[in-house]
Symmetry: C2
Subunit: 300 residues, 2 copies
DNA sequence: TAAGGTTACGGCGATCGTAACGATC
DNA sequence: GATCGTTACGATCGCCGTAACCTTA
């Protein structure tokens, strides 16, 4: 048994058990991969992959048990490297942030800017994805931390910390009927709605608000992206329900935003990361920066 | 980085950082060990051992952080092998039991005999040690499970399950004054006492019983071993305080045992094993056997 | 000077790459 | 026949062992 065999199992897991693709990912020829897997299975004395002919189609019962340990080993191996790199120079490294469009555009700019001032040597990679994918990115270590509102919390491999709370707002063009007067669920429901896709940016809370009423929202456009929603609101397609902090008074002068905190429960944006994954010091400082930015947000 | 380097770090840890002894343990020459360590440190970019001249004298701060991950990797590696072996034939293997003399002689014979009937293919290694050493045997994986009464419970790496409860008894030769009449702490304290060493077999509970009295026990002999205590009781040196189940009516006909459950708090014998360590199925069955034997004990 | 660690060098074995072959869709 | 996996074989690179050398108790 050696570490490259362990690594191979991980890569196979992430590539639908394709030997040729695994070989590609590991920058070696496919025959080498084939042999290493044979050697490993021979050493264990029992196959860890189910086969259909020569193709691998899944894990055996043994394989499943082993993959849990494989994940642990790979995690620890990476941790050793990260710990060492962090020890040598804790101001240099890479930070992979996985988040949704709304967070990336309307919450992260300030903390990221501040962070870059303190840590100019840290390269920041930001990857946008759906909340579901975000969790996956953490598990496959394609991201170090995830910032998102939905879909985290059930996973016992994750540590999830609250970041900040916010409310939805309705945005309409100036002179739109909704720009004046009280807003009720009923009045809201009388307009065609543009808001986030399922599973995005507090969408579940919008559902919650209407669940116990007889009314149904007429959602004519659902997008993952606040800017898409705004664009179509500007075109007069209907009223947008977006995250409150996604209304930018400077840029969105042609729109009117009105708070919906009395109608839709508050949404909670969280910071999540893998439990057993070592995070460099600067990553911890980045999370501090997020919390500071969150506090400032709540003051306004 | 490779697994033998990781293994090397573990071996060094267990051999006071001596390269030559580590080489011996790993069945390779010392120069090879020296080189592998150099390569590993070079790969990390920073030393993980403190040195005095050429000798290693301890871990650096980096080294300490890394050793935690090293332990995880070694554990997972061993787990993979154990899981595979267990999968191929769950009736064959090795079982290392670490326990104290009293348990080994007076509690374990019955469950072990039963276990052997079911699993003739499992080799049982029993290692006797002090409770303190038992924990260490678990950590260094020289034992799979430990059965003991003292000194377990604080360790978060261990899973500790209760096994059975028992009381101390006093043993005296026939015709000894204590063989008749009520027994009080005061009366007990008036005789020279022979009992277990500190940290052994419920000794702490004997201390507890006398802590809040002005009296002090005159312990003239302390042994780890019940049989040693009995031997000297037979020679008339004093009265023995031993574990109740360590009195064997068949063999100890020349002695009288009298229960002390009204004087000394009950002792709790536990089964402990390493949290992240995979135990073969038969080991789990062995623990079941222990619990069955424990139940039978409590009926009598 | 013995014991422990490092450095130099030669040899062996593990593992890779090339290439031909086999199977499956 | 294109894709994917296996087998065979030669070449290379890593790692070990021998041995000489260095350092410290």
């Amino acid at each position: 048994m050696n570490l490259s065999q362990i690594e191979l199992l991980r890569v196979l897991q992430e590539n639908e058990f394709s030997l040729s693709r695994a070989a590609e990912k590991m920058h070696i020829v496919q025959s080498a991969v084939s042999r290493q897997l044979q050697l490993f299975e021979a050493e264990l004395g029992s196959p860890i992959y189910q086969r259909q002919g020569k193709k691998l189609i899944g894990l055996t019962a043994l394989g499943q048990r082993i993959m849990a340990e494989v994940a642990i080993i790979n995690m620890a191996k990476n941790n050793i490297q990260t710990i060492a790199a962090d020890f040598i120079d804790s101001n240099q490294g890479v930070l992979h942030i996985a988040t949704t469009h709304t967070q990336a555009k309307y919450f992260l700019p300030k903390p990221i800017l501040r962070f870059r001032e303190k840590y100019p040597g840290v390269r920041i990679y930001m990857v946008e994805a759906s909340p579901e994918q975000l969790i996956n990115k953490l598990h496959t270590r394609k991201a170090d931390i995830a910032i998102c509102t939905e879909k985290v919390g059930e996973d016992s491999d994750l540590i999830v910390n609250p970041c900040y709370e916010w409310h939805h707002a309705v945005v309409v063009p100036k002179n739109h009927p909704l720009s004046t007067g009280d807003i009720s669920l009923k009045r809201l429901a009388s307009f065609p709605i543009l808001t986030y896709s399922f599973g995005f940016t507090g969408r579940s809370n919008i559902e919650t608000a209407f669940k116990n009423t007889a009314m149904e929202l007429d959602i004519i456009l659902a997008a993952a992206d606040t800017d898409v929603i705004k664009t179509y609101v500007r075109l007069g397609m209907g009223v947008g329900i977006i995250a409150g902090m996604a209304y930018d008074p400077a840029v969105d002068q042609d729109l009117v935003a009105r708070d919906l905190s009395h109608l839709i429960p508050c949404s909670k944006t969280k910071i999540a990361y893998l439990k057993n994954n070592y995070l460099p010091l600067y990553t911890q400082h980045f999370m501090d920066e997020l919390l500071i930015a969150a506090k400032e947000l709540n003051f306004h």
